[in-house]
């Protein structure tokens, strides 16, 4: 159980950090190329709102969608951990000798 929770938290935090870094990168890229303002959703919840400011600069707003994605990723990671380690799971064995 402890390892399952560990897998969930790691998946969640890693996804959260990576998504934030990618969003920040998108902000810089969008600003440099003067991309129009964008709104990213996930099941109706805001992940990121990118607003291009005039005459220069940009503004990013993060939403609850980011947390939903992270929790989902954590669940998938914990699920995969369970799949590999469930009782009766096939052991990863060396290739058999023919």
């Amino acid at each position: 159980m402890k390892k399952l929770i560990f897998a969930f938290i790691t998946g969640m935090i890693l996804t959260l950090v990576i998504t934030v870094i990618l969003s920040l990168g998108y902000g810089v890229y969008g600003d440099a190329n003067r991309l129009p303002s964008q709104h990213f959703h996930f099941f109706g919840k805001t992940i990121l709102q990118y607003n291009l400011l005039e005459p220069k600069g940009h503004m990013l707003n993060f939403g609850y969608g980011l947390l939903i994605i992270s929790v989902l990723a954590g669940t998938v990671n914990a699920g995969l951990y369970y799949l590999f380690n469930r009782p009766g799971a096939p052991k990863i064995k060396p290739r058999t000798i023919k």
Binding site: A7, T10, G11, G25, N77, F84, P94, R95, I97
Partner: protein
């Protein structure tokens, strides 16, 4: 991950004793008992033959079931590797490298957990002076922490892009000083241990997936405290001193940000002194052990 194509070999300080059926660790002064079959398999380990070649040869010789013996031998090698008694070398193969990469990624995300996904490597540095030891450690740490250094480098570059007044040089200080301070940390542990024991007690260094270890026998309480305390000392003091300088001195913003990153890298090592961290735990254990010994002496 250990595969049938891996080549096992005994590191320095580990000997197979056929008569007493044991693997003897001369550096830590420990003997690991073996059964006759394990001993027969380990006798064939010479640093050239793969696990599969050894099992094939012995299975043919004694009429054993090859598949069963290979599985058992892999398990034995994995166990011994976990105790730093066998080192593994795997010849480069594209398929194997892809598999290793996938395992590394899943281990990083903690989808895979446990020692069976790790391959440990034990080695003894034979360096004449502390400078050559430091250079040697720098190389080992760069190899061990390469994914972390690359991630920090990328993060540093991104910070330089996003934060105003931050230069690429400031971004680069993150991975560079991470490597430097961690190397100095381990180097200080080794140097103080060698000085205290007057180079008489053996030790060895070990690496595993994303971690470096300095494995040594326990010494008296004062020695344990000094060795554990010495490691994080130089990075922590550098971090604290630099923070004080930054607080009281005015300087150009770009230089200020570079020094902030260096100070942050140093201050991180203060965590090592906390009781849950490796060094803090060792110091706590040394004091507890000393108290226990004293109370037992009083009773007797």
């Amino acid at each position: 991950m250990i595969s049938p194509q891996s080549i096992p070999f005994f590191p320095e300080g580990v000997e197979l004793n056929n008569q007493s059926l044991a693997l003897v660790d001369t550096q830590l002064g420990a003997a690991h008992p073996l059964n006759q079959v394990s001993c027969a398999l380990l006798e064939q380990v010479n640093g050239e033959r793969t696990i599969r070649q050894i099992t094939q040869q012995l299975s043919f010789q004694y009429g054993w079931d090859e598949e069963e013996v290979e599985g058992d031998f892999l398990q034995l090698i994995a166990q011994l590797n976990g105790f730093y008694l066998v080192n593994i070398r795997t010849p480069f193969q594209i398929g194997e490298a892809v598999k290793q990469g996938m395992v590394s990624f899943l281990y990083f995300t903690r989808t895979l957990q446990g020692v069976r996904w790790e391959v440990k490597k034990r080695f003894t540095p034979h360096k004449k002076n502390s400078v050559s030891l430091l250079i040697f450690l720098l190389k080992v740490m760069a190899q061990t922490y390469s994914p972390m250094i690359a991630s920090l480098g990328l993060a540093g570059m991104l910070i330089a892009l996003i934060l105003p007044y931050t230069s690429f040089l400031a971004g680069l200080t993150l991975p560079l000083f991470f490597l430097l301070f961690f190397t100095v940390h381990e180097w200080a542990h080794i140097i103080v241990f060698e000085k205290l024991t007057k180079h008489k007690l053996p030790y060895f260094l070990a690496t595993r997936r994303g971690a470096f270890q300095f494995v040594r026998p326990r010494i008296d309480m004062k020695g344990e405290l000094l060795v554990s305390f010495a490691g994080p000392l130089i990075p922590s003091v550098s971090g604290v001193a630099l923070s004080i300088v930054l607080y009281f001195t005015s300087m150009p913003i770009w230089l200020f940000l570079i020094l902030v990153f260096i100070a942050a890298n140093g201050l991180v090592h203060l965590i090592s002194y906390l009781p849950f961290a490796e060094d803090g735990k060792r110091m706590k254990e040394a004091v507890q052990m000393n108290k226990l010994t004293q109370s037992q002496e009083v009773k007797s």
